[in-house]
Subunit: 167 residues, 2 copies
Amino acid sequence: MSNISHPTDCSHRLRFRQVDYFCAMFSKTFGYALRAATFVAVHGKNGEKIGLQELSQSLDIPHHFLGKIMQDLVRHGILDSIKGPSGGFYANEQTAETPLIELLKITDGSLVFNQCALNIKRCNAEHPCPLHHDFASCRDGMLKAMSAKTIAVLAAEIEEGKSFLVR
Amino acid sequence: MSNISHPTDCSHRLRFRQVDYFCAMFSKTFGYALRAATFVAVHGKNGEKIGLQELSQSLDIPHHFLGKIMQDLVRHGILDSIKGPSGGFYANEQTAETPLIELLKITDGSLVFNQCALNIKRCNAEHPCPLHHDFASCRDGMLKAMSAKTIAVLAAEIEEGKSFLVR
DNA sequence: GGAGAAAAAGACTTTAAAATCTTTTATTAT
DNA sequence: ATAATAAAAGATTTTAAAGTCTTTTTCTCC
Ligand code: FES
Ligand code: FES
C-alpha cells in the first residue's frame, strides 16, 4: 500500500534528523548528568573520590563536556568536589536523595514537562492538539517516575545488576 | 530541602536548552507536517486546493520551511500538489488513510522509537538503562497511538472541535 | 615554596535543525 | 505568446546543542 522508505537521493532535499538524535525526549546533557551522578553514587561511597578521567572513560562521555556538567551539579549541591591531586567528585548527603526530576530541571530547565508534542504554543488540556491525550499520559507517566525515583534508587538497581549505565 | 532554581548568573556557564525546545520528543518538522497535512485533509476535501500562503498563515508556520516539508509529503504521495495560479496542495486517496507513524518516519526517520532515553548505545530490554522500563512503556504507548491513528481520525476530531491545530 | 595533579573556567569549533532568501519550473488566464 | 501565479528547488543564514581546546585556580606532596 504505502511505501515508507526514503527515496535514495536526498541530497537536494530537506535533511532529516540524524540517527543518534532521534526521539530525544531529553538532552544528551541530561543523560550524561544522570549517568555520571549515579556512577559517583555507586562507586564513590564513604567519601571516595572519582576523577573526571575515570568518569568520562568509564561512561564514554567527552571529558571536558562532562567537566562542565559536573561543575553544574556541584554548584547545585548534588555532588561535592575537591581540586588538586587526589581530588575528584564524591557523594554528599544530598546526592542519594536527589530525585531525577531535579537533575532534569538542572540540565533541561523547569518547563520540560509542559511542552506540546506538536509545538503548539502551550500544551493545554482545554485546547488540546491532536496528540495531547496520548502524549500527556505518556509524559505524566515519565514525570511521575522521575519524581518518585532518586539517584539512590538507580544506584541500587545498578548494584543489583538490574540496569546499566553504559553501552 | 533542595533548591531547584537556577542561580541567576549563568552567563559564564553551560547554556541550557532554550524554552521552546524543551522536551522535544519529535522534531518541529514533524509537528508542522502533521498539522499541515491534517489542515489539508479538513479544508481540502473534494480536490479543493490549499495554497502555501494560506497554510503557513493559518498554522503560523514559516512559509518556505513549510514549502520544503510539503514537497516532501507530495514526493512520498501523502498529498498531491499542482503549480501555477489556482495551484496548491490537495488530498488524494492516500491522505486520509495515512497513519501518523508514517508521517513521523518521513520527517524524523525510521528509528524514532528505538532510541534510549539516556542515549546509551542501543535501547535494549535485556541490557536496560535505569530509565528503560518507564520510558519504553511511555514510548510504546505513543507508538501504538500513532500506528492506529490516521490523518482521517485527526481530521474528524478537528471538525468536531475536539482538538486544534493552532495556538 | 616549587612541581605536579585535578577541577574550574572560558574561548572556540562543529553539527544539525530551523529559518530565510533567491531562482527556476509549471500552470493558468489574457 | 505573454504575464502572473504558485509550487519546486536551491543556496544561504541563524540558532542551539554538543564537543574540543586552552588557561587558570586550587590542592597535595616533596
Ligand atoms: S497540546 Fe499538544 S501535547 Fe498538549
Ligand atoms: S535502554 Fe535506555 S530507554 Fe531503553
